[in-house]
């Protein structure tokens, strides 16, 4: 309403130095909620949010932003929602234009909606509380080492709709990083400390809580220097120590890695390179990747000696603007689980790009001869990628496909094969714009049949001037790791060599939506989606499903919005032993946007 008097967002100046802007919205309406996991109620509700931004002296000296919100979902703040969340977000930047820039940020959220991921399918819905705090500082002084420091901490507690269990997590981390250039050397050093604690429900198999405590820190040092022929020579060292405590045991390990590389560009077309890597704890590297992906180690693992080194050389030549050829040689030597492994691989690849039949074609063909030293067995690896797009008459067509076979994984002796594709099609039929798309991928672990994943998705939609429609279908299955944030795909999984529990999953989902804009300020949207999945984990099977229905009508009059909406949400897991959660909500109300100052 102030905007009636001023044409631009006004800015308040307090004293001579503080400038602030604030805008936001307030909503009032009649809401009704009912379901089997919440008390049914109805009545007048109010909500709102605001954003206050400002600076002291100048924005480059100190700037800030605070965004409180009350009684609304951040995902859907204008209509009915399954979670009436509240909270505040804020951040402050200091000396952003100077030599010592810093920032402080914080957030606190109550009853906010989150997700529990399932590969290739709609994610499951969670709700809970969280808070976070982060502070960062930098020292950027010319001719001195540049230093950046960051500290963060946060907590989260949540529950998954359709279960009667809760999860919690908290984290602390600190990192410091420095870079310095002296006498032609680029030097860098870093330190990272991370600690997190999680308790999360194994709701797909039992109602037990899995406990996970991770504690780790790492140091790194590196240096590089320019060489003749536009070349560089670099080396890095990293030591990473970590401890993982979980319900059934503990893992402690230290991983040292050394990497060095050299690259030359003697001509504009030719590139030569060499690379060397060494680690004294190969299995530890693998476990760390599982933990960082959110997985856990469900068995105690005694200390095992393992190491790995590999050396590779590369030559690449740009023959024409259409053709590039690359040759690579790599030798690996690994020792783990009391055995030694070695392999040599020789790879030749060609990249081609050109206009083809009126469109654009790009391809990659790569052939690898892979030989294992211990078994003296050889295999041919293959990688092909094809992308093509063109306009055929009135049709816009594009597609891509890839196939890979015997692709080396982190461990010698384990290779993967698979394929993928995607395609898009579209054209105009008079005033109607129609499009369709399809995609899919499949990846398998060659040495352990049955471990892998595949997914496919299909979609179509059209829009006319004031009407739009879309529909989707997806299906997915595979093996993965059940972790803190959901199921993580991992083709490199199995009881051996990984001491972790696998989860088998499979499911399909479909949905559709329609949007109408019959008048300039009237918007009508409706969407429906449903997902089904089956999981088997620790010999416990679970049938899971979710359903979302959402409809909204909104009419805008100046800065005021008249809203009416309805939502229905269902989510259930048979292994949880509880009835599927059902939440229904309807809303009629008014929302008003303000430019306060």
């Amino acid at each position: 309403m102030l905007a009636a008097a001023v044409r631009m967002p006004a800015q308040v100046t307090v004293g001579n130095d503080v400038s602030m802007n604030m805008n936001g919205q307030i909503s009032v309406g009649y809401t009704g909620d009912y379901g089997n996991q919440i008390p049914s109620d109805h009545g007048i509700t109010a909500g709102g949010n605001a954003t206050l931004t400002g600076s002291y002296y100048t924005p480059s000296f100190l700037s800030f932003q605070v965004s409180p919100y009350y009684n609304q979902s951040r995902d859907n703040s204008t209509s009915s929602s399954i979670s009436d969340s509240s909270g505040v977000l804020g951040n402050v930047s200091l000396f952003s234009g100077g030599n010592y820039p810093g920032s402080i940020s914080f957030s606190k959220n109550y009853d906010s909606v989150g997700t529990f991921d399932v590969p290739g399918l709609p994610n499951y819905t969670t709700h809970g509380n969280s808070q976070g705090f982060n502070v960062g500082w930098g020292v950027i002084v010319p001719d001195w080492p540049q230093l950046t420091l960051n500290y963060g901490q946060g907590t989260n507690d949540y529950s998954i709709y359709g279960t009667d269990t809760n999860g919690t997590s908290d984290y602390h981390n600190f990192n410091a990083h420095a870079v310095y250039r002296v006498d032609g050397f680029n030097l860098n050093a870093g330190y990272f400390y991370n600690q997190n604690h999680s308790q999360y429900p194994l709701f797909l198999q039992t109602q037990q809580l899995e406990s996970l405590d991770n504690d780790g820190n790492s140091y790194s040092f590196g240096a590089s220097h320019d060489l003749p022929f536009h070349g560089t020579l670099g080396a890095n060292f990293n030591r990473s120590s970590f401890t993982s405590d979980f319900s059934d045991g503990r893992y402690t390990g230290t991983v040292d890695t050394v990497n060095s590389n050299a690259n030359f560009h003697p001509t504009g077309q030719l590139t030569l390179g060499a690379d060397f890597n060494y680690t004294d704890n190969l299995i530890g590297t693998l476990y760390q990747s599982i933990i960082s992906a959110g997985g856990i180690l469900q068995q105690s693992t005694p200390g095992q000696s393992s190491n790995s080194w590999d050396a590779s050389g590369l030559a690449s030549y740009i023959l024409t603007k259409h053709w590039t050829f690359t040759g690579t040689f790599e030798h690996r030597d690994q020792s783990y689980f009391g055995s030694s492994f070695g392999s040599n691989s020789l790879t030749g690849s060609a990249n081609y790009w050109n206009r083809f039949l009126g469109g654009s074609l790009s391809t990659v063909l790569s052939v690898t001869r892979l030989t294992e030293d211990t078994t003296n067995q050889s295999a041919i690896g293959l990688l092909t990628v094809v992308n093509y797009s063109r306009r055929i008459m009135l049709w816009d067509v594009s597609g891509s496909g890839n196939y890979f076979q015997n692709t080396q994984t982190l461990l010698v002796g384990y290779t993967t094969s698979g394929w993928g594709y995607s395609g898009q099609l579209g054209r105009k039929f008079g005033a109607v714009r129609w499009n369709a798309n399809a995609g899919g991928s499949r990846s398998l672990l060659n040495t352990a049949a049955g471990y892998g994943y595949n997914s496919q998705n299909f979609g179509t939609g059209f829009n006319i001037r004031w009407l739009g429609f879309n529909g989707t279908y997806a299906k997915s299955s595979g093996t993965g790791l059940l972790g803190v944030n959901g199921v993580v795909t991992s083709p490199l999984a199995g009881q051996s060599p990984l001491p972790t529990e696998l989860i088998l999953y499979g499911g399909h989902a479909y949905g559709g939506g329609i949007g109408l804009n019959p008048y300039k300020r009237l918007t009508i949207t409706f969407s429906y989606s449903r997902a089904f999945s089956d999981t088997v984990s620790n010999s416990v099977g679970s049938q899971n499903n979710s359903e979302n229905v959402f409809g909204r009508v909104q009419y805008q009059f100046r800065q005021m919005f008249l809203n009416a909406g309805y939502s229905r949400f269902v989510q259930g897991f048979s292994a949880s032993g509880t009835a599927p959660a059902q939440l229904n909500s309807f809303y009629v109300g008014v929302q008003r946007w303000f430019n306060f100052f």
């Binding site: 309403m1 102030l2 905007a3 009636a4 008097a5 001023v6 044409r7 006004a10 800015q11 308040v12 100046t13 307090v14 009059f557 100046r558 800065q559 005021m560 008003r592 946007w593 303000f594 306060f596 100052f597």
Partner: protein, 372 residues
């Protein structure tokens, strides 16, 4: 020669303290908010005081006002309008983004083209009404970059679009009527139409095509009946012609890159030219809009210097006014110029996002008692 001494425009002035207090009051009480709006209305209606430019023989040039957005046509609101403003927020007023050309019709409505807004603003101060015209269609049938505007005897509005190469015609009520310049298979007559003038007596439309260095003469249905001019620097030749103005039997053409205004008869025969290249007074560097007052003096906008120079028929500089700046009476890249029958001078002040209005008081009008 007297140059205006100009004060800062009141409408561009804001008091932050008042706005803070206003914000607090508005949040607390709608009634107080209405009071705030009332004060703002008064503030917005205040126009800067620009000294009159006194000329020979008692003539004078008087600065009247400027306007830049829809709100200016009705600065004062009634009680209920203010209540609605408080409850639902103010309406989204149209604002001049980059006014380019200006003209008035027989009802006194001021019509302004705005390439950046891809439309035409119609300000009706007498009726306190505003209208925005645009046309969004597929292909080249949309109004993309309106340039110059003219009206016929029935107040139909003709707008050149330099990007689509079309002329869009709207009726007096602002309803789209037709398009001129399109041929079959999507081709068009014009390469870059800019200036336009209407001869309602002879039913002819004159359009400059800047890139073709020609003037097209068309009937009212859009059929080309004659072309005038060719590339060059000689008499009747053009180097990027832009604005057109029809005055009696004379057709005035801004020959932009020859740095002159050529005067032709309606058949295209060269009569005389005014102007020369230079960066001193009396010369033309970036001639834009042109117009003639009731005494037949020629007003030429110079975009670079932000000034309007006034010449007599002999091409002698009589005086100039304006100058670069943001205050009232100053210009930032002025473009279009129009003088109505009562000698009100409308200048499209493009980068200041406003139209400024002066009034020329010649001897006959002052003698008739029209003093300010």
């Amino acid at each position: 020669m007297v140059q205006f001494l100009l004060n800062r425009a009141a409408r561009s002035w804001r008091c932050p303290v008042l706005e803070v207090c206003g914000a607090i009051l508005l949040i607390v009480s709608p009634a107080w908010a209405a009071q705030k709006n009332k004060k703002a209305d008064k503030k917005a209606s205040v126009q800067a005081s620009v000294p009159d430019l006194l000329l020979e023989g008692g003539r004078k040039l008087v600065y009247e006002r400027n306007f830049g957005w829809e709100r200016d046509v009705k600065p004062k609101k009634g009680f209920w309008a203010r209540v609605v403003d408080v409850v639902a927020g103010p309406p989204e007023y149209h604002t001049l983004m980059r006014p380019y050309s200006v003209v008035t019709d027989s009802r006194g409505r001021i019509i302004v083209t705005d390439p950046d807004a891809a439309g035409i603003h119609i300000f009706d101060f007498a009726q306190q009404k505003y209208k925005f015209l645009s046309r969004q269609e597929k292909g080249k049938n949309s109004l993309f970059s309106p340039q110059c505007v003219a009206v016929d005897a029935k107040d139909n509005i003709y707008v050149t679009d330099s990007e689509s190469g079309r002329i869009f015609v709207f009726d007096a009520n602002g309803k789209y009527d037709r398009m001129i310049g399109a041929l079959k298979f999507g081709e068009g007559i014009f390469k870059r139409p800019t200036g336009i003038a209407i001869d309602s007596v002879a039913n002819r439309i004159y359009v400059t095509d800047t890139l073709r260095n020609k003037i097209y003469v068309m009937d009212m249905q859009g059929s080309v009946v004659q072309t005038i001019g060719k590339p060059g620097a000689g008499e009747g030749e053009f180097n990027f012609p832009t604005e057109l103005r029809l005055d009696g039997n004379e057709l005035l053409v801004v020959d932009a890159m020859n740095f002159r205004v050529q005067v032709l008869d309606k058949s295209g025969n060269f009569q005389y030219a005014i102007g020369k290249i230079g960066d001193t007074s009396g010369a033309m560097f970036r001639p834009k809009g042109i117009a003639l007052d009731s005494e037949g003096d020629l007003y030429v906008v110079d975009g670079l210097w932000g000034a309007i120079q006034v010449f007599n028929h002999k091409g002698e500089l009589l005086y100039y006014f304006g100058g670069r700046g943001t205050a009232a009476g100053k210009f930032q890249l002025p473009t279009g110029l129009f003088i109505d029958r009562s000698d009100r001078i409308y200048v499209a002040d493009s980068l200041n996002r406003r139209v400024q209005i002066y009034r020329y008081w010649g001897l006959p009008k002052q003698a008739a008692g029209g003093a300010q």
